[in-house]
């Protein structure tokens, strides 16, 4: 993982044609692009293709100095466009979302087994957390019903920033519970 200053330095070297710096920048971005693409399209091979393509585009444009706005914001824009194009040319996103769990369990038995185990643990932890942390449970409940964070905060009469804080605290408790089995 790279610090902000190191990243700036690497980008500057990559712009001058330093191959090793270019490779390092590529490695830094490809991991993130892959994650973000996979989060949206659920197919690992397609996500990898998109991530590589976006990475190449970003580096080429950057080397040519064609990026006017902040690099990261521009790169996310490119990634979103690519994903949008992919979704338009393939089946609807909804159909993919509904089958993601089946794909994982069917594609990789050991991974799917992990997911089933994880899901059991998650359900157990959630039952405990709902009783012990009603504020998190309330917010999570509304989010699960499809409300955005802004809607939730309006409904509960709290600030949006408070809503984020409640969610993050709940997440920490949930992560701890998944690790230790206790709330």
């Amino acid at each position: 993982m790279l610090q902000k200053e190191e990243m700036t330095n690497l980008l500057a070297r990559a712009r001058t044609g330093d191959k090793s710096a270019e490779n390092e920048v590529f490695r830094h971005f490809i991991v993130r692009f892959r994650y973000l693409a996979k989060k949206k399209i659920w197919r690992e091979d397609d996500a990898e293709d998109i991530a590589q393509e976006v990475c190449r585009t970003v580096l080429e444009k950057y080397k040519k100095g064609e990026i006017e706005s902040e690099l990261e914001i521009w790169a996310i824009g490119v990634l979103r466009n690519k994903i949008g194009n992919y979704i338009q040319t393939s089946q609807s996103n909804r159909a993919k979302k509904s089958t993601w769990f089946d794909e994982i369990t069917a594609g990789d038995q050991s991974h799917g087994g992990d997911m089933v185990h994880l899901k059991e643990k998650l359900l157990k932890c959630l039952r405990m957390i709902i009783r012990r942390y009603p504020r998190y449970a309330r917010v999570l409940n509304l989010v699960s019903q499809g409300y955005s964070a802004a809607d939730v905060s309006r409904r509960l009469g709290i600030k949006v920033s408070n809503c984020y804080v409640i969610l993050n605290r709940g997440r920490n408790v949930l992560a701890k519970c998944l690790k230790t089995g206790q709330v």
């Binding site: 610090q3 769990f101 998650l122 989010v143 964070a149 809503c163």
Partner: protein
């Protein structure tokens, strides 16, 4: 590893994982993920759990049905609260409307109550006074609760004429004077409310003086004893 490089955006982490951000916020957070190692590590480490939380039907069902905000699972008090104070703009909240109506009604209530006290009084004792020339017995007015009523009969009284009502004590001292006394009806009767403050216990002579009449005309006189 150090913490988030921009906590103002980093705080949206779990909301992002649960797909609870707007498109613009998601885009901003994703740009943040490209720069912030700390947040990217946290998001990628919690990826599978977040997917289950956000999308798995069984998990969502549990959260929606068992949560304190789950439909059909609210306590009675919460239902009542939502009935009188629902999540609508402030001006449309029924509790506020009830409160405003009460605030508007209260002055009316105060006004009506005040009027009751001021204008409607119960006076138990009344005496009927006739001109001294026609009666020999002094009527006695008993004032129990601060006030008494005196009905004065003056056969020559005119309805629209302004008289002066003068009350003198037995010793001849004037104790009360009421100019512009225009209270006689067509039969020559007039009702006067007498207060204990003006007329304490004693004997009085009441005179109806007509300012426009000449000095020769003797005004009618009435005896009154206050007990």
């Amino acid at each position: 590893m150090s913490g988030c490089i921009d906590p103002q955006i980093g705080v949206m982490l779990h909301a992002y994982e649960l797909n609870a951000l707007t498109e613009a916020q998601s885009e901003s957070f994703e740009a943040h993920l490209l720069k912030c190692d700390y947040c990217f590590r946290r998001v990628s480490d919690f990826d599978r759990e977040a997917k289950l939380l956000a999308l798995d039907p069984e998990v969502r069902e549990l959260v929606i049905s068992a949560g304190p905000g789950g439909e059909g699972k609210d306590h009675l008090m919460e239902k009542i609260r939502r009935y009188i104070w629902p999540d609508v703009p402030l001006i449309f909240r029924p509790a506020l409307a009830y409160l405003l109506v009460l605030i508007m009604i209260y002055p009316v209530y105060l006004g009506l109550r005040g009027r009751d006290h001021r204008d409607i009084r119960s006076i138990r004792n009344t005496v009927y006074l006739s001109d001294l020339r026609s009666v020999t017995q002094r009527p006695v007015l008993t004032i129990d609760h601060g006030e008494g009523a005196v009905m004065i009969y003056y056969d020559e009284a005119e309805t629209d004429r302004a008289y002066t009502l003068v009350v003198e004590s037995d010793s001849g001292r004037e104790v009360f004077r009421k100019p512009n006394f225009v209270r006689f009806d067509r039969s020559g009767n007039s009702l006067v409310i007498i207060s204990r403050d003006y007329l304490p216990k004693g004997k009085y002579l009441l005179r109806i003086v007509d300012p426009r009449a000449g000095a020769q005309k003797r005004p009618p006189e009435y005896f009154l004893e206050v007990d």
